[in-house]
């Protein structure tokens, strides 16, 4: 699976890597148990500083999306079917959703349009999960 980051964007590269990986997990393109590139290999593939990728993986690990062991390296730890997240995770996510939705309304977006976009985005992730699930056999673990 390939991911793309924008070297010219204002969003820092580590944040972009983190976000693209979270999106890939949500879309079912990366499944729980799937092994990720090592920090060094991904930095080498992008041709960027190792510290940048390390920072992205740290952020993913902190949020529980991946886990790292010396034996199997970094693997995807969560996914659409991995059960309810811990209450603090939901609380933190809710806070950020509130701010994000507020930004739309504060910019004068139509509330119905905001809700419609939420529906569309979630619907798209679910559709891609279905496509990813049909396309490849169920993984172990």
């Amino acid at each position: 699976m390939l991911i793309e980051v924008d070297p010219g964007a204002e969003v820092p590269l580590y944040q972009q890597i983190r976000d693209r990986l979270v999106e890939a997990i949500a879309a079912g393109a990366l499944r729980p148990g799937e092994a990720l590139s090592s920090v060094r290999a991904l930095a080498g593939a992008f041709g960027i500083n190792v510290a940048t990728v390390s920072k992205a993986y740290d952020a993913l690990r902190r949020d529980g999306f991946i886990r790292t062991s010396s034996k199997s390296g970094s693997v995807v730890a969560r996914g659409p079917g991995s059960g309810d997240p811990a209450p603090p995770v939901v609380a933190d996510w809710s806070t950020r959703v509130r701010t994000l939705l507020a930004e739309g309304l504060a910019q004068g977006m139509d509330p119905a349009d905001v809700v419609a976009r939420c529906h569309a985005e979630v619907g798209e992730f679910v559709r891609r999960q279905g496509a990813a699930g049909a396309g490849q056999p169920e993984r172990e673990r």
């Binding site: 980051v5 990720l36 290999a41 080498g44 593939a45 041709g47 960027i48 500083n49």
Partner: protein, 373 residues
């Protein structure tokens, strides 16, 4: 039947081969990297780009022809240096032509702000499985070792009949100019070197296979993987064929020195045919690779690649479009920007050290050839 290569023929052939390789270089590169300058897809067809490439090719052709003239002029010297020098001169001249010819593209790019407003992306595989890599052509390395073993066996059979003092170095015209007492070390040093070289490059091929790939943005995922695999495969083939060729040359020269110590005959026609076949494999890999690149471009065009975000302008990391220096990049070897193979990252501490060793080896071989060993 004995084929004797005249020195001037070898020198002229080197010039022509170097010329052909440099003329082919733009065809062995991404179209968004003309003469090693990063260019957005929409500017690939610009006149300034096309003209720069044509000018570069014309200059290389002229240089190769000049090299042939120099080879002919130096022929009366009957010196090994006269054989090697013209090829090196053409190489140096072609590199200079490359760096000079690309300047007009760089200037037009800066003046026209070609990358302004062009969305750019870096692409990488994120799973441990990565993208498909080309395998190491084990058979070629095994063949090199087997033929070296056969050569060593022949040497063992000939050993008792060899003179007490054996030639260890040959000068112009294949005449020996250095001798040493016959011993296992002096007689078998060349074949040992051939075996060592084959094993070392087999190891290098595996190391390079484990190294990261570099994907360039601007292609759909499956084409980006195919593009990377094509470059990888061509590089592995050429590395294997070149290793086989080098080992065989050493074997042939060793055989020659054992059977004809008074004057090198430079091999019978069968061996010449075999060497040409290996050189042909290298040429065929290059032609096949150039064709694959064209096909991929066609597929990319049909898939609407021009509308996709482009690879970023990374000219700063490529000095003269040839030498890669990026301190942030943790990788030691990266795929070459133009042509087939990998190049060292001189921004990597080990890259500088390794480049120093390689340069020392080249200088040492030149000194050995010209001064005599």
């Amino acid at each position: 039947m004995i084929v004797v290569f005249d020195d001037v023929v070898v020198a002229a052939a080197c010039c022509v081969l170097v010329g052909v390789a440099f003329v082919a270089l733009p065809a062995l590169s991404d179209r968004t990297l003309p003469l090693g300058v990063a260019v957005p897809a929409e500017h690939v067809g610009d006149r300034v780009v096309q003209e720069a490439v044509q000018r570069y090719r014309r200059r290389v052709v002229v240089l190769a022809l000049l090299g042939v003239v120099v080879a002919a002029a130096l022929a009366p010297l009957r010196d090994v240096a006269a054989v090697a020098l013209p090829g090196y001169l053409v190489t140096a001249g072609a590199l200079l032509a490359f760096t000079r010819s690309r300047r007009s593209i760089t200037a037009a790019k800066a003046a026209g702000r070609w990358y302004e407003g062009v969305p750019t992306r870096l692409v990488a595989p994120v799973t441990a499985a990565g993208v498909p890599r080309a395998g190491v052509p084990t058979g070629a390395y095994a063949l090199g070792l087997a033929l070296t073993a056969v050569t060593a066996a022949v040497g063992a059979a000939l050993y008792p009949g060899l003179p007490a003092r054996v030639p260890t170095h040959f000068g112009g015209g294949g005449l020996p100019d250095a001798f040493a007492p016959r011993s296992i070390a002096t007689v078998f040093a060349p074949v040992a070197a051939a075996a060592l070289l084959t094993v070392a490059f087999f190891g290098l091929a595996h190391a390079l296979r484990r190294g990261p790939v570099r994907l360039r943005a601007g292609l759909p995922a499956h084409l980006a993987s195919a593009r990377s695999l094509a470059g990888d495969r061509a590089a592995q083939r050429v590395l294997a064929a070149a290793t086989l060729l080098a080992a065989l040359l050493i074997d042939v020269l060793a055989l020659d020195a054992w059977t004809s110590p008074a004057r090198l005959r430079l091999a019978g026609p069968a061996v010449v045919v075999f060497l040409l076949a290996v050189a042909g494999v290298i040429a065929a890999s290059a032609v096949g690779y150039a064709r694959e690149l064209r096909d991929l471009e066609g597929d990319a065009g049909r898939a609407g690649a021009a509308a996709r975000p482009q690879a970023p302008d990374d000219d700063r990391a490529w000095r003269g479009g040839l030498v890669y220096v990026d301190r942030d990049d943790p990788v030691l070897w990266v795929p070459k920007r133009n042509g087939i193979g990998w190049t060292l990252n001189l921004g990597h501490p080990a890259g500088v050290a390794l480049a120093g060793v390689l340069l020392a080896l080249v200088v040492a071989s030149l000194v050995l050839v010209t001064v005599g060993g």
